[in-house]
């Protein structure tokens, strides 16, 4: 099995980790209450999806 021969420097470690990035959650404005919601999911604020009340709020 392949194993590292040399310890990796902090600089190299950090250079590699500089590519770890987060991305914002994609949201859509709710057609009922205009607050941002996940696409294809019921709105967490007003609890509606497709004009139908899905969850009680």
């Amino acid at each position: 099995m392949a194993v590292p021969k040399r310890r990796m420097s902090r600089s190299n470690t950090r250079s590699r980790r500089s590519q770890w990035k987060t991305s914002a959650v994609a949201t859509q404005p709710c057609p009922q209450c205009k607050s941002p919601k996940l696409p294809h999911a019921a709105c967490g604020v007003c609890g509606t999806y497709n004009g139908r009340q899905v969850v009680e709020v």
């Binding site: 996940l38 294809h40 999911a41 019921a42 967490g44 139908r52 899905v54 969850v55």
Partner: protein, 164 residues
Amino acid sequence: MPKPTRGARLGGSPAHERLMLANLATSLFKHGKITTTEAKAKRVRPLAERMVTFAKRGDLHARRQVATVVRDKDVAYQLFAEIAPRFTNRPGGYTRIVKVGPRKGDNAPMAVIELVEELAEAPAPKRSARPAAAKTETAAALAPEEPAAEAAVEDTDADESKSE
């Protein structure tokens, strides 16, 4: 070659998976609407719709096939007596899954699965309907359990009065 099951594998063993899906389907018919994870909702949908199709057929063989999944006799009776007639004009697609976003705690994507036609009010206590159910189902098997079943009905009555 057998066709693989669609969707996620649940639980640790096939028996556990069957039990979980059966319990989910029973809860769905009992309450009309349940919140669960997306994976489970997607797995329970074909099973639940198959049960509704059996209930629409309504003969003894269908009852026995439903009884292998829905072990609760009250729920099975309700499925045949109340849920099936609501779907007589609907050729399939008896349930609806709506995603409701990730769960707090483990971030699991959650969904609400519900029967498409709304439950007409809270299920009324069917004390008078029970004997008819006992007759149509396997009467011999039910006979010794009769007092227990009556007690269960009374319990649900008490719960309903509390919640109101």
